[in-house]
C-alpha cells in the first residue's frame, strides 16, 4: 500500500501532538515537539523518493541516471540544523522556568490564567 509511508508521517505528527498536550514536563514537551518536526521531515522525504533512484550526487556517475529529488533533501538539510537551534531556544525557556519556579510541570504554572 503506497499510502503507508505518508500515514507514518501523519501518525508521527499526531503522536507528537499527543505528547505535547498531555506532557507534565516541559523538557518532555519540547522533545515531543521535535517528534512533530521529524514527522514533517518524513513527509517531505517520502514525497521526494523514487524507487530505484540513486542519491542526487553525480560524482563519477553519468547525468541522467534516475535519482531521487534533490530539492526536498536540500530543504531538509538546512531545516534540521535550524530546528535544532530552535529546540535549543525552547529548552532555554524551559530552563529559565525551572530556575524561576522550581517546577517544570505545566499544570502547576497557572499565573497566566484569564
Amino acid at each position: 500500500m503506497s499510502l503507508f509511508p505518508y500515514l507514518v508521517a501523519a501518525w508521527l505528527f499526531c503522536i507528537g501532538l499527543y505528547g505535547v498536550v498531555t506532557s507534565r514536563n516541559f523538557i518532555h514537551l519540547v522533545m515531543c515537539l521535535a517528534v512533530v518536526q521529524s514527522s514533517t521531515y518524513v513527509l517531505l522525504l517520502t514525497i521526494g523518493y523514487r524507487i530505484g533512484g540513486m542519491p542526487p550526487v553525480f560524482a563519477g556517475v553519468p547525468v541522467g541516471t534516475p535519482a531521487v529529488d534533490p530539492v526536498v533533501q536540500a530543504l531538509m538539510l538546512t531545516d534540521i540544523v535550524v530546528e535544532a537551534t530552535v529546540v535549543a531556544l525552547l529548552l532555554s525557556l524551559a530552563v529559565q522556568v525551572h530556575k524561576g519556579t522550581g517546577t517544570l510541570n505545566p499544570d502547576h504554572l497557572r499565573e497566566l490564567q484569564g
Binding site: L17, V20, L43, L90, L109, L112, Q113
Partner: protein, 612 residues
C-alpha cells in the same frame, strides 16, 4: 543606469540591510557602546524604509519580479526564488519598517538593553517580515515565517527575571511552532502534487482541480498562518505573549506581526488557490466569515474584561484581526483594499496605544488598570493618546480604519451580507469602550477602586531605566506621531484609489502568474471607476463610538450593576471564558488540533457533500 535597473538592484536590500547590520552588531557585541548600537540599528531601519519607498515609487504603474541568483524561469518552470514587488507588498513593507523604527526610537537610551542583543533580534525580525511581504516562493515564505518566529520567541522571553515571561514565551513558542509545522505539511502536499515551490507555478499547475490534497493543503496553510494571526481557536497564545513581552516588542507583535498571518493567507489564496476554489467560493466564504466573526466578538468581550493593560490591548488586537479575516473572507478585491487600509490604520493606532501603556509602566511601574486608578491625573497630555487611539479602534473618521471599514462594509453589502457592518461597529464599540474606560480610570480617576472583574493581577516589572518622574520625549513623541499619522494619512489624495489598485493587482491571479513565469510586463490592474457613498459607514462608526463612550462611562459610574442577580450570569460567562484561557499550553494545543480538524472537516463537507 536607468531608474528601473537601479531599482532592480535594491530589491534585496530590505532583507540584506537588516541582516548585515545585525551580523555586524552581534560580532561587535562587547565592544560597541549603547549609543552606537542604537544609531546603527535606526540607520539600518531608515535605509530599509528608504529602499522600500523607492520600490513603491517604481511600481506605481507596473509591478516587477526579481529572481535571486539570476535564475529566471525556463519554459514556465521556476528554478530559483523570486520576489514579487507590487504596490501592496511595498506598502506593507513600509508599514513594517515604520513600526520597527518606532520600536527602536521608543527603546532609545532608556530601554534595558543587554549589549546589542535586542537590536540584533529586532533587526532579524525586520528582515524576516520584509522578506515575508515580498516573496513569491512558498518555501521562502516558510523560511521567513520561521525567522520571524525565532526572533519573536526570544524577544518575548526578554525579561528573563520574571517567571511569567518565560511561560508566556513558551506558550507562544510551542503553539506557533506547531503552526509552522502545519504550514510545512501543507507546502509538502502542494509540492508533491505540482512539483514546484514557486507560488505562481503551483497556481498554474493546479488550474482548477480541487481534490482532497489541495483542500487539505489549503486547510493546513490556513491553520498554520492563522495560528500566527491569533484567530479563534488558535488565539490563546497572544494574550499571554503580550502580557509578558516588553513594550517595543508588543508594538511589533500587535502592530504588524499578527496581520502578516492574514496577509499570507490572502497571498496564498490569490496566487495559488483562486483557481481551485473558484467553484467553491461559497464554502470558503462561509467558513471564514464564521471564524472571523467569532474571533472578533470573543476578542472584544475578553478585551473588556481585562485589567492588565497589555492583555486588554492584546485582546483588542485579536478582535480587530478577526475583522480583517471577515474582510478577506469576502474574497473580493474591493474588500481586500479595505483590509489593507485597516491594517495600516490599526497598526499605527495600536502602536501608539502600546506606547501609552509603556509610558504608564515607565512612569508608574504598573500596567494594572485598577492599580493605576487616578495616578496619572497630572499627565493629561499623554492620556490623549488613549483617547485618539480609542477613536481609531472604533473606526471614527478621519481615521485610516474608517476608510478600511467603509471599503469592507460596501463590499459586504454588495454580496448581501449586511450583518457585517454590525459586527464591525460592535467590536469597534466594545474595544474602544475598554480603552476609554482605561482613560477614565487612570487619567481622570473615575470608577471604583475594586470592580467586578475578578481577573488575576499579573505583576509586571519596569523595563526601563530611570529617571522615572518624567515621560521622555522618545516615548511620547512616537505615540503622538502614530495616532496623528493614522488621522492625517486619510487625507492623502487618491489614497482609496491607490489601495484599490494595490488590491486589484494582488488579486489578479492570471496576471501574477504571467509576470512571474512568462516574464510578461503587465501593468497594475486598476479598479473599475466609481465612488462609493461614505454615509452608511459614517453612521455605523458614529454609533460605535457613541455606544463605546456610553459603555465606558457606565462601567465607571456608580450605576454599573452590582446586584448579584444581574451580575451572576455575566460572571459565569466571563469566568467560563477566562478558564478557557487557562495559560496551560496543553489546552492551547488541544484547541489548535480541534480547530484544524474542524476546519478541515467543515470545508471538506461543504465542498464535497453540499457542493458549495
Amino acid at each position: 543606469m536607468s531608474l528601473s535597473s537601479i531599482v532592480a538592484h535594491i530589491t534585496a536590500l530590505p532583507v540584506a540591510t537588516p541582516l548585515g547590520t545585525a551580523a555586524v552588531l552581534a560580532a561587535l557585541n562587547k565592544f560597541l557602546p549603547r549609543r552606537m548600537a542604537d544609531t546603527l540599528a535606526i540607520l539600518a531601519t531608515l535605509v530599509t524604509l528608504f529602499t522600500e519607498t523607492l520600490l513603491l515609487y517604481s511600481v506605481r504603474s507596473q509591478p516587477f519580479v526579481y529572481w535571486y541568483g539570476g535564475w529566471a524561469p525556463r519554459s514556465g518552470a521556476a528554478l530559483g526564488i523570486c520576489f514579487v514587488i507590487d504596490p501592496l507588498s511595498c506598502a506593507l513593507a513600509m508599514l513594517i519598517s515604520v513600526l520597527v523604527l518606532v520600536a527602536f526610537v521608543f527603546s532609545l537610551r532608556y530601554f534595558d538593553s543587554i549589549g546589542t542583543m535586542f537590536h540584533v533580534l529586532v533587526l532579524g525580525f525586520l528582515a524576516a517580515m520584509s522578506g515575508f511581504a515580498f516573496t513569491g516562493d512558498l518555501f521562502n515564505l516558510f523560511v521567513f515565517f520561521e525567522l520571524m518566529s525565532a526572533s519573536a520567541f526570544a524577544l518575548c522571553g526578554y525579561k528573563n527575571e520574571e517567571t511569567t515571561a518565560q511561560q508566556g514565551a513558551l506558550n507562544f513558542a510551542i503553539t506557533n511552532t506547531i503552526g509552522a509545522f502545519l504550514v510545512l505539511c501543507g507546502i509538502a502536499m502542494l509540492y508533491s502534487r505540482t512539483g514546484a515551490l514557486n507560488m505562481a507555478q503551483i497556481g498554474r499547475a493546479l488550474g482548477q482541480q480541487s481534490d482532497a490534497t489541495v483542500i487539505t493543503a489549503f486547510v493546513f496553510l490556513l491553520v498554520g498562518f492563522y495560528v500566527k494571526a491569533a484567530i479563534f481557536p488558535f488565539h490563546f497564545w497572544l494574550a499571554d505573549a503580550h502580557a509578558v513581552a516588553p513594550t517595543p516588542v508588543c508594538i511589533l507583535f500587535s502592530g504588524i506581526m499578527v496581520q502578516l498571518g492574514v496577509y499570507a493567507v490572502a497571498r496564498v489564496y490569490w496566487a495559488i488557490m483562486a483557481g481551485p476554489f473558484a467553484a467553491h467560493r461559497g464554502a470558503l466564504m462561509s467558513l471564514l466569515l464564521v471564524i472571523g466573526t467569532i474571533t472578533s466578538l470573543l476578542g472584544a468581550i475578553m478585551c473588556f474584561g481585562q485589567r492588565h493593560l497589555k492583555r486588554l490591548l492584546a485582546f483588542s488586537t485579536i478582535s480587530h484581526t478577526g475583522l480583517l479575516v471577515i474582510g478577506f473572507a469576502l474574497l473580493d478585491p474591493h474588500a481586500l483594499s479595505g483590509v489593507a487600509l485597516y491594517v495600516a490604520g490599526h497598526g499605527l493606532v495600536k502602536a501608539s496605544l502600546f506606547i501609552g501603556a509603556g509610558i504608564l509602566l515607565h512612569r508608574y511601574g504598573s500596567v494594572d488598570e485598577l492599580e493605576l486608578r487616578g495616578r496619572a491625573q497630572r499627565h493629561h497630555f499623554s492620556g490623549i493618546v488613549f483617547l485618539l487611539g480609542a477613536l481609531g479602534l472604533a473606526g471614527v473618521p478621519p481615521n485610516l480604519t474608517f476608510l478600511g471599514e467603509h471599503a469592507i462594509d460596501h463590499a459586504a453589502t454588495l454580496v448581501h451580507q449586511d450583518w457585517i457592518p454590525v459586527i464591525f461597529a460592535f467590536s469597534g464599540a466594545i474595544t474602544s469602550a475598554a480603552v476609554l474606560r482605561v482613560y477614565g480610570r487612570v487619567y481622570l480617576g473615575w470608577g471604583d477602586r475594586e470592580s467586578l472583574r475578578t481577573g488575576k493581577q499579573i505583576p509586571e516589572e519596569r523595563e526601563t531605566a530611570g529617571p522615572h518622574h518624567r515621560i521622555p520625549a522618545v516615548m511620547i513623541l512616537p505615540a503622538f506621531l502614530m495616532v496623528i499619522a493614522a488621522l492625517g494619512l486619510t487625507l492623502t489624495p487618491k489614497l482609496r484609489r491607490a489601495a484599490e489598485t494595490g488590491a486589484f493587482t494582488m488579486a489578479d491571479t492570471a496576471a501574477y502568474q504571467s509576470r512571474v513565469l512568462d516574464g510578461a510586463h503587465l501593468p497594475n490592474t486598476f479598479a473599475p471607476p466609481g465612488q462609493t457613498a461614505l454615509t452608511p459607514t459614517l453612521i455605523s462608526t458614529s454609533c460605535a463610538i457613541v455606544f463605546g463612550l456610553l459603555l465606558a462611562a457606565w462601567s465607571l459610574s456608580p450605576l454599573w450593576p452590582k446586584q448579584d442577580v444581574i451580575v451572576r450570569p455575566f460572571k459565569l460567562v466571563m469566568g467560563g471564558l477566562r478558564s478557557l484561557h487557562s495559560g496551560h499550553v496543553g489546552d492551547y494545543v488541544a484547541f489548535l488540533t480541534l480547530g484544524a480538524a474542524a476546519i478541515g472537516i467543515v470545508l471538506g463537507l461543504l465542498i464535497r457533500r453540499f457542493g458549495m
